[in-house]
Amino acid sequence: MAQALELNNTLSVSQITGHIQHTLEADFSSVWVKGELSNLTRHSSGHWYFSLKDRSAQLGAVMFRRQNGSVRFEISHGMEITVHGRISVYPPQGRYQLIVDQMLPAGQGDLHLAFEALKKKLATEGLFDPARKRPLPAYPQRIGIITSPTGAAIRDMLNILSRRFPLAEVLLIPVRVQGEGAASEITQAIEDFNQRADCQVLIVGRGGGSLEDLWAFNEEQVARAIAASTIPIVSGVGHETDTTISDFTADHRAPTPSAAAELVVPDSHELMSRLINMGHTLHKTISHRVDRNRQRLEALQNSYALKRPVLMIEQSLQRLDQLQDRSFRSSAEKINLMLSKLTGLEQQVQALNPLAILERGYAVVSQENGQIIQSVKQVNRGDAVRIRLKDGDVQTTIKKVNPKKIT
C-alpha cells in the first residue's frame, strides 16, 4: 500500500530550500577548491562569473569586484586555479554557487594549502601559544644571525645593529635562504647556535621574494626548530605583507630583517640620554636628601632641648647681674638713706645742742644740783644758781623774784 500522505511532514519548496541553504552555507562557510577555470564572464559591473570544473563535476562561482581586484595574475579559460570562498544558495533559482574571495594559480594554491595545513597543525599542537613566547634580553651581549651572507638583508641588519648598539657582538651562521636544502641549513644553524649557547638572541630571516622564495620559512622543520630553540628567536622574513609559519613559532615577529635588527637591540643614543637623565635624577635625589637632612640638623641645633643648657647659663648670668645690680642699688640706697637720715639727725642734734643757743648769746640757768630753771617758781631769794654762757659759767645768788604779772 502506498504510503499515506503525511501532511504534517510535507515541506513547501521554500521550506526545503531554506533547509538546504542553511545546511550548505553553514557547512561550507570557508573552503578551498581546486579546479579548472571555465565559462568566464567578466560582467560590466566588474564581477566575474565562472565555473570550476574537473572531469566529473562543475561548480558555479562568482568573484565580486571588491575581491577580484586583489588577484595578481592573468586569468584565462582552462587554467588550473585554487580558490577560497563560501557556498551560497540562491533560492529563486534553486541554485548554489561558490562566492570566491581569494584566487591563486594552482601551483601557488598548493603552497597556500600546505601553508594553511601546517599552520593549523602546529597551532593545534600549541606551538603558537603566546605563553611560549620568551621575552628578548634588554641588552644582548652577543647576537646570532641566521641568513644569507650576501644580499641586502644581512647588510641592512648589520648597519642597524652597529648604529643602534655596537656593544653587542654579532655572529653569523651563513645559510642558503631559498631553494633546495635551505630549510635544512636554517634548521641546522638554529640547532648549532643552541648548542654553542653563547648568544642571547637569534635573528632568522631573509629579504623579500615570491612565496616560493620564502618557502623555506614555511617548512615544518624550520618552524619546529624555531619553536624548540632555548634562545629567543626573532623572525624577519620578506616584506611587511609576507607572513610565514616561522613568524608564528618565533618568539617575536618582525615585518622585515631590518625591523628584526631594531627589535633585538636598544638604541644606544636613547640609552645614553637615559643614562644622563638617570645621573641628573640621582644627583637631584641625593642633594634633596642631603638638604633635607641638613635642615633637620639645623632644626635640631636650634631646638630648645639642645639650646636649654646654654639658655640656662645665660639666664643665670643675667639673673646674677640683676641680683648684683639690685643688691648694689639697694645697698647704695640704704647708704643714701642712712646718710640723709644721719644728716637729719646731725642737724637735729645740732639744733638741739644747747650750746648752740649759748652761741647766739642766750644763757642757761640751773640750780646747784644741775636742774635747769625754767620758771620763777623754782627759785627763791637767796638761792644759789649757775648761769651757763657760751664760754663758761658764773655762780650767783637770787636777789629778788619777780613773777610776771598776769594781766
Binding site: L158, S162, F165, V170, D192, S268, I276, G279, T281
Partner: protein
C-alpha cells in the same frame, strides 16, 4: 666578578636596582649616599662602554674536523 668583566646587561641591571632603591627612600642617608656614588660610577662606566663600543662581527664556519671557527665577514 670585577666591573670590567661584567656584561653591559649586568651593569644596567645593577644600576636599575640601585636607582629603584634610592627612589624608594627606605635607605638611611649613609646608605643613600653610598648607593648614589655606586650608581654614578655605574652610569659613567655604562656611558664609557657605549661610547667606545665598536661592533665585532664574525662569520661562523665549521672546519673539516667539525670545529667552529670565527672568520671576519667580508
Amino acid at each position: 666578578m670585577s666591573e670590567k668583566e661584567k656584561t653591559f646587561e649586568v651593569l644596567m641591571g645593577e644600576l636599575e636596582t640601585l636607582v629603584a632603591r634610592l627612589e624608594s627612600e627606605d635607605l638611611n642617608l649613609d646608605d643613600a649616599i653610598q648607593h648614589n656614588e655606586a650608581a654614578l660610577k655605574l652610569i659613567k662606566l655604562c656611558r664609557k662602554r657605549l661610547d667606545t663600543a665598536r661592533q665585532k662581527i664574525d662569520k661562523l664556519v665549521q672546519n673539516s674536523a667539525g670545529e667552529w671557527q670565527k672568520q671576519p665577514l667580508d
